[in-house]
Subunit: 335 residues, 2 copies
Amino acid sequence: MLSFPTNKPLIVITMGDPSGIGPEIIMKALADLSKERSAVFVIVGDAGVMRSAAASFYGKPLAVKRIGDSFEQDAVNLVDPGPELKGVKAGISTDDGARKALSCLDTAIRIVRDAPEGASPAMVTAPVSKERIARLSPGFVGHTEYLEKAFSSRMVTMAMVGKHFTVIPVTRHIPLSEVPGKLTTRLIVDTIAQVVESRYLLSGKDAARIGVAALNPHGGEGGHIGKEEIDIINPAVDKARSFYGAIEGPLPADVIFYKAFNKEIDIVVSMYHDQCLAPFKMVDFATGVNTTLGLGCVRTSPDHGTAFDIAGKGLASPTSMEEAIRLAARAVRAS
Amino acid sequence: MLSFPTNKPLIVITMGDPSGIGPEIIMKALADLSKERSAVFVIVGDAGVMRSAAASFYGKPLAVKRIGDSFEQDAVNLVDPGPELKGVKAGISTDDGARKALSCLDTAIRIVRDAPEGASPAMVTAPVSKERIARLSPGFVGHTEYLEKAFSSRMVTMAMVGKHFTVIPVTRHIPLSEVPGKLTTRLIVDTIAQVVESRYLLSGKDAARIGVAALNPHGGEGGHIGKEEIDIINPAVDKARSFYGAIEGPLPADVIFYKAFNKEIDIVVSMYHDQCLAPFKMVDFATGVNTTLGLGCVRTSPDHGTAFDIAGKGLASPTSMEEAIRLAARAVRAS
């Protein structure tokens, strides 16, 4: 049993791959955010790696805790599930490092899952090497799917929150040729329902304006360029309007992002990965935050990878990690 | 036989639908461009409609010509294939208006096609009502396809030239589900070849940097999320590099537009309509210019429709038409 602070939200941050930029950007972000701190922070990571990152980029010592200890409200707490890594080299990915990253993730999940009623903790995950973890733990494809299983979710939705707008792909990492076959009215309605439920997290507004993208060029032009709008997406939008009014669509992809970029739409529900990620990353490449809906707790992460090529050089920008932590804090406060 | 000016390029502009914003934006654009005029302009349109638009938005009379007359270099020339329309009302689309728009397009094609060797005229087309023309002339789907037939082209390519970057969709107005099946290495190579040939028109640079987009999320992740990159797109990029060096790709859609927006790539060759038009129109909604490659002459058009809802109110922005005329002038001078 873990002890939770009673008057501040708890944000649990995983280290990610110890040889990547995770430790550096976590400590840089917490240093930058130290004045607006309204949450209690717990890092789950390797004690040696995180102490060293804290010495370089944070300037204050971490409060090392074991599971069962109380967390300190005025320090950054560190939980290390052990055993401590030896000889970690920045930029050089190892099996031991990947194993430790996964074990930290598991411990973070446990801290969040075992949280007492009402604690509403949030999780922020630093990047891992998917390929290396997949070799140690076959079937690992990424945080989102791993957390979906760990939290026994019926369905998770991935959202990218940017400075300009927020996007949600209804289908994710599948070949483009499989997208039309995967789309169902039910899947779109369920996705919109999760978006509506999390609209404050996703937009900072209770009255968020949601746009739903069409699948085909020009929105199918009344069935002349594809029937999915008529058969699948229109009925989904109609149904979704029965539980939330401010929904527009289906809008052609070459209209909806113009409207979003020009602040006429806050959240774009899109039919497939590249439809929304291409315009999103064009203007929010390094600043977007990935968040997973449907876990029962909030989870955010920076929108980039381990960046082994620049790890250990002090060059990594903490912006996306800062935004991920800010978003988690917004979510916890809003819940 | 038409008389061509000898020392200036000729730009032939079609009126488009007489009840749309075409006449207004043509005359506004020519007024705005009157100081930088390095071409001879011929409008093919209805005499009454264009005279009225000139009176409101241009301020000088048009030089009305018949086919066979010499064009004036210091005035805007007007050719009306007749018969003159009566009772045209702005905003109210009619069969007579659509018929006249099509007949003006045919006359413009004739002027351009019959041009003497070395005249290198360019065509700028104002928007028409595709739906209404299709009712009168079944099979009409748009300017691009109509011109493809009229000029007996083996293959045309549509490009959108914006302030930020230029995009070319390899496939155009087809359902998303048909995109993977239409892509072949040959089609992609042929498209890139037309782009390379027109790179100065498309980018204003002889050393344009061309990027080729992937089809699947994350570029297929080495075949894990779709095989088209490995089977179709990689071989096309390799082959294209044999005739032009500055080609990068296939790049994931959520990377390539970031690079284009940040001036690391000038021209994006994309696999399907929404992949490039969504990010393009997000930042160049009203300023993009549509141009058709492969006709044997340059053709540009503003990137918007007839806008019947604002026609006749003086509210239409000529920006995209101005850019279309400027691009045509650039092309004619470059040829």
